[in-house]
């Protein structure tokens, strides 16, 4: 049997391009939403902000900057951690999979107030 190799009508092609373009734009919009960027500074012995609210299922980007020395960020409940070294931005990307309140703490010994350097991530439904 001979396969049909007829040309796609110009109108159909235009419609296809339109919808493809629309879809691509939609993806880009989601990507922008996905990049819910939250900037956090760390210094002896606090994070700012120390309470971070995010939404379940929505991708998050945390950007950390140290204002003094090496700190850490460890949120065991969400399974995320990073070192926060002075002079560079530490980035964590994650998608919260469960709602709740998740404490985090500094896990690089930073001084007399180290044990109190803590914060909370709140994941809403």
């Amino acid at each position: 049997m001979k396969a049909r190799t007829g040309k796609m009508p110009a109108v159909a092609l235009a419609v296809l391009i339109f919808f493809l373009g629309a879809s691509l734009m939609e993806v880009c919009a989601i990507a922008d939403d996905a990049g819910q960027v939250i900037k956090i500074t760390a210094k002896r012995y606090e994070y700012n902000p120390d309470t971070i609210t995010v939404k379940k299922g929505v991708p998050v980007v945390l950007e950390f900057t140290s204002l003094d020395r090496l700190h850490g960020f460890n949120c065991p409940g969400l399974g995320i951690r990073t070192d926060i070294a002075p002079g560079k931005v530490a980035t964590l990307r994650f998608v919260p999979q469960k709602a709740g309140t998740f404490p985090f703490h500094c896990d690089n010994f930073c001084g007399s107030g180290h044990e109190g350097m803590t914060g909370t991530i709140i994941v809403t439904e």
Binding site: R44, L70, G72, N74, P76, D83, D107, N108, F109, C110, G111, S112, H114, E115
Partner: protein
């Protein structure tokens, strides 16, 4: 096989002396041809400079009492090993050095003059061990004593709680010179294994050190940091943490937030103490005896 304190006490039957084997099974160990067993004492987490009467109202007297108790031991140990956090941390470098100097002077009151030190994160993490090195010397080293090879590993001067590649290379080179059957004792501040990582009770690259130690048949690790006894094994390597001499900490993950256990006026110095380790001649084994601050057997 995991062995907790209860299991040990069951094995021991009763009393405070605990028989601890560094072996997974029968074996021999090399290097004890001279045949003498010996005692050493582990003192840990003295946190000199700590001040909180609700946690320890005798913060300046506890260490001195423990030293008096060690001085009363008969027989006397061959040496004392301080497994870190000699001082409580301070952000003031001058104060840090003052605390270390005071600690060294107080420890000088021990009858035993062979004193071995290593830092904890409170001593060394803020200046990468600079003050400690000036006052006490090296932060990692090895020595031999009556047929046992002792290795002191520093897993605190790096504030990430790591040993680091350079020191791991040193460890590999040090081990390479040892017979696989020699009895090895390792001292660290933090546990080398993941006891409770979310409480900072681990060493990030501790597994690398354990990998290097695994080919050796008779390895035992003594550590501090967690301010309580804990007995575990990883493979054939036994790990024993010591009580502290300033404040106890709760059992791993037993409470939501790690905090010093408050002082109990009904049981002063509860949870504090030191241990003696009897390295038996011609046996790949140790008897651990736990003492309270005033020398009472636990």
């Amino acid at each position: 096989m995991k062995i907790n304190r209860r299991d040990f006490l069951k094995l021991a039957g009763y009393g405070s002396a605990i028989f601890v084997s560094g072996l997974a099974g029968p074996g021999r160990w090399a290097g004890a041809a001279d045949g003498d067993g010996f005692l050493f004492v582990q003192m840990s987490d003295t946190h000199w400079g700590f001040s909180n009467p609700a946690v320890n109202p005798d913060s300046t007297g506890t260490l001195r009492k423990a030293i008096a108790a060690v001085n009363d031991l008969n027989p006397q140990p061959d040496f004392i090993m301080f497994t870190g956090d000699l001082t409580h941390t301070t952000d003031d470098e001058k104060e840090r050095r003052k605390r270390m100097t005071e600690f060294r002077d107080i420890a000088g009151g021990l009858k035993v003059k062979k004193l071995n030190y290593m830092p904890g994160e409170h001593d060394a993490s803020l200046d990468e061990g600079a003050a400690f090195k000036d006052i006490f010397g090296l932060t990692h080293y090895s020595f031999d004593h009556k047929g046992v090879h002792f290795i002191v590993l520093d897993n605190v001067s790096d504030p990430t709680g790591s040993i680091g590649d350079e020191q791991l290379q040193w460890l590999a080179a040090d081990l390479k010179k040892q017979d696989k059957e020699v009895r090895i004792v390792v001292f660290t501040h933090r546990p080398l294994f993941d006891l409770a990582p979310d409480w900072d009770w681990h060493t990030r690259d501790g597994a690398k050190a354990l990998d290097l130690l695994m080919p050796y048949a008779h390895v035992t690790v003594f550590y501090g940091h967690i301010h309580q006894e804990n007995h575990r094994t990883t493979g054939h390597i036994a790990h024993h943490s010591a009580r502290g001499l300033m404040y106890p900490l709760p059992a791993p993950y037993s409470v939501p937030k790690k905090m010093p256990v408050p002082w109990d006026p009904a049981q002063p110095y509860k949870g504090l103490g030191f241990r003696s380790v009897d390295a038996k001649a011609r046996k790949a084994a140790y008897d651990l005896t736990e003492y309270g601050v005033k020398g009472e057997k636990r």
